[in-house]
């Protein structure tokens, strides 16, 4: 998209994109009872991917990340929907949720909630939607 030779942008992108990725995953996981969540995490991830597109061009990034963003939208929606109707099958109201404490290796005792799965769906949908829209316009030159 941008002119071929842009050394400063490329060098900083290698660093910044990974910081953005890391922070987006932190936000996604924090989202249950602290600021964050699937929506903002997804936006942050798409910002990181977009930055890579801007620095390295469409072809190069499509080679490293061969993801069909259009397909991410229905996948994300399916996950979100399945987690919300899951509770119907065990006789609970629609969208009901639960949580528990688990002993994870390295991390220690952590709280895991079913709301996190719902958020994963949101995350994928947001990444899919925002990148589909931006890339549709960008590809059209």
């Amino acid at each position: 998209m941008i002119k071929e030779n842009d050394l400063i942008l490329r060098t900083t992108t290698t660093l910044i994109a990974f910081i953005l990725f890391g922070f987006s995953i932190y936000l996604f996981l924090a989202g249950h009872s602290a600021p964050g969540g699937g929506f903002i995490g997804g936006l942050m991830t798409s910002a990181a991917i977009l930055l890579m597109y801007m620095a390295y061009g469409l072809k190069a990034v499509s080679k490293i990340l061969p993801i069909n963003y259009q397909l991410l939208i229905p996948i994300g929606l399916t996950i979100a929907l399945l987690t919300s109707i899951g509770s119907v099958f065990i006789g609970e109201p629609f969208l009901n949720q639960t949580f528990g404490y688990f002993d994870l290796p390295i991390l220690g005792e952590k709280e895991l909630a079913t709301a996190l799965l719902f958020d994963l769906g949101v995350y994928l949908t947001v990444v899919g939607v925002s990148l589909t829209i931006i890339l549709t316009i960008a590809n059209d030159q």
């Binding site: 397909l71 939208i73 229905p74 929606l77 399916t78 929907l81 109707i85 119907v88 006789g91 609970e92 109201p93 629609f94 969208l95 009901n96 949720q97």
Partner: protein, 494 residues
């Protein structure tokens, strides 16, 4: 848990839409799956309807959050009846779509957006939370934005930008109105609002919020003077999309007015409902003038949406049991007949290749069935007895007589006459007259178009002829609307 029934009409179409998005390129598979899924959904909704009729409203507290705190879904007889009607129109649309859409349009997620539209409409009917109503409005609007640009010609792009802008603006006003209401009563649950509104001392601010909400819903429902955006965007997309829009979208607006102004804002009916009566009369007059002013047959049918909305508003404005039963009856009748008319006109445009009335003549010699179906649906629309429009109008005008509003009765009758004139004009110009030997006749295409229309008209005629069977349910709904305490108590469980 039986209360989970309330969420099924929302979840099933959503699953269907997502499922069909995965293989949007495999058209034959998608077509048959879509047909199966709409039919299944309609049967499920029919089952819920029977359950609700027997046992009263099904109320679901999503996520297990109790009534005023969480999001509530309320499937009462009014909302589930409208959902059922929506799904019947959905079946007709799915069977009509393959004949009318091009392959490219079908591949571009038509069925996904169709199901999302059904999700949004059903959700808007079922929700019991004012902010959630906004969310479902957005779901159905988002799907409608995608459907209206399907195909993407120049006119379509221009009209859809206008359509998106007007809807976005009114949605933002909706959010603002909800914020006002929240600051006054501190809740967004409709039953809870209705309960707290009774205790508010300054009724003036409530009337202001009520009128702001009326403005929002009036924009969506195309009431005078906010109807100017409606006719053109409804004529540009594919006929099946126009039919869905004409049948469902404005009706969601009028349903919201019906719900909000029989449940929440009933503290100052002298002002609000008299105001509605004026708006209803003006909507009738201006809509009919619009319908008579053009030779574009799609535009004539699109303009005919406006007086229909005016009729329904009369019932809300008069606000007694007879008139409300008229509104509910007319709502069901109009959803079905508008879909049928748009599909018929779409078929005529497809077969003749033009929307200009002056370029058509003598179609009845080539397509007799299509012609008589059109004749029948004109009569149903105008409210000739014994068809369904007649019974709705009879109740509406009877309600107006009871309150002594003679002027609106005269305007209503005059408007029905002019509606009949605008429809018969199409019939005489396009179907009657000398046989045009130059046209190429495409009987096979005509046959594919007629079947869904016959299906819809069957229900329409049944609504009129079988009124004895349906009317008790409608009266039950009207009685329920006149007594908002039943709704409040069933939601808040006091």
């Amino acid at each position: 848990m039986i209360s989970n029934l309330a969420v099924l009409p929302i979840v099933i179409p959503m699953i269907a839409g997502i499922l069909l998005a995965f293989f949007h390129k495999k058209i034959p598979l998608v077509r048959s799956l879509a047909k199966i899924l709409t039919t299944t959904n309609t049967l499920v909704v029919l089952f819920i309807w029977l359950y609700v009729k027997e046992n009263g409203a099904v109320i679901l507290e999503t996520g297990g959050w109790e009534a005023p705190y969480g999001i509530i879904l309320v499937a009462d007889l009014l909302s589930i009846t409208l959902v059922l009607t929506t799904n019947i129109i959905g079946i007709a649309a799915v069977f009509y779509a393959p004949a009318s859409l091009s392959k490219k349009q079908e591949e571009f997620y038509f069925y996904t957006f169709f199901f999302l539209l059904i999700t949004g409409v059903s959700g808007a009917f079922i929700t019991g939370d004012l902010f959630n109503l906004f969310v479902f409005f957005e779901v159905l609007l988002m799907a409608s934005y995608a459907l209206i640009v399907l195909g993407g010609g120049k006119v379509q792009l221009r009209e859809s930008i206008k359509y998106v802008l007007i809807n976005l603006f009114s949605s933002m006003l909706f959010v603002t109105a909800v914020a006002f209401l929240y600051s006054v009563v501190g809740t967004v649950n409709m039953a809870h609002i209705a309960e707290r509104v009774q205790g508010v001392e300054q009724k003036g601010i409530l009337t202001t919020i009520g009128i702001l909400l009326f403005f929002v819903f009036g924009t969506k429902a195309a009431l005078f003077p906010l109807y100017y955006w409606l006719p053109k965007p409804y004529t540009v997309p594919n006929p099946v999309v126009s039919a869905l829009f004409g049948a469902l979208l404005t009706k969601v607006g009028i349903y919201s007015i019906l719900r909000v102004f029989t449940l929440i804002f009933i503290h100052d009916t002298d002002f609000t409902h008299t105001f509605f009566l004026w708006i209803a009369g003006l909507t009738l007059i201006f809509g009919v003038i619009g319908a008579l002013s053009t030779n574009n047959i799609k535009l004539i049918v699109a303009y005919n949406i406006i007086p229909a909305v005016g009729f329904m508003l009369i019932g809300i404005a008069i606000f007694n049991e007879t008139s409300l039963s008229g509104t509910v009856y007319y709502l069901i009748h109009d959803m079905i007949i508008k879909a049928a008319l748009f599909l018929l006109v779409g078929a005529v445009v497809y077969l003749t290749g033009t929307t200009d009335l002056r370029k058509m003549k003598g179609l009845i010699h080539h397509y007799p069935l299509l012609g008589w179906l059109f004749f029948l649906s004109s009569f149903v629309l105008a409210g000739i007895p014994p068809f369904s429009g007649f019974i709705g109008k009879l109740q509406l005008l009877k309600g107006a007589f009871e309150e002594g509003e003679i002027l609106i009765v005269i305007v209503g009758l005059l408007a029905s006459l002019l509606i009949l004139l605008s429809m018969i004009r199409i019939f005489i110009q396009a179907f009657w007259g000398e046989k045009d030997e130059t046209v190429t006749v495409n009987k096979a295409a005509a046959r594919r178009f007629t079947l869904p229309v016959v299906f819809l008209l069957f229900f329409s005629v049944f609504l009129g002829v079988g009124a004895e069977l349906i009317f008790p349910s409608v009266e039950q709904i009207a009685d329920y609307l006149m007594n908002p305490e039943i709704y409040i108590q069933s939601v808040l469980k006091e």
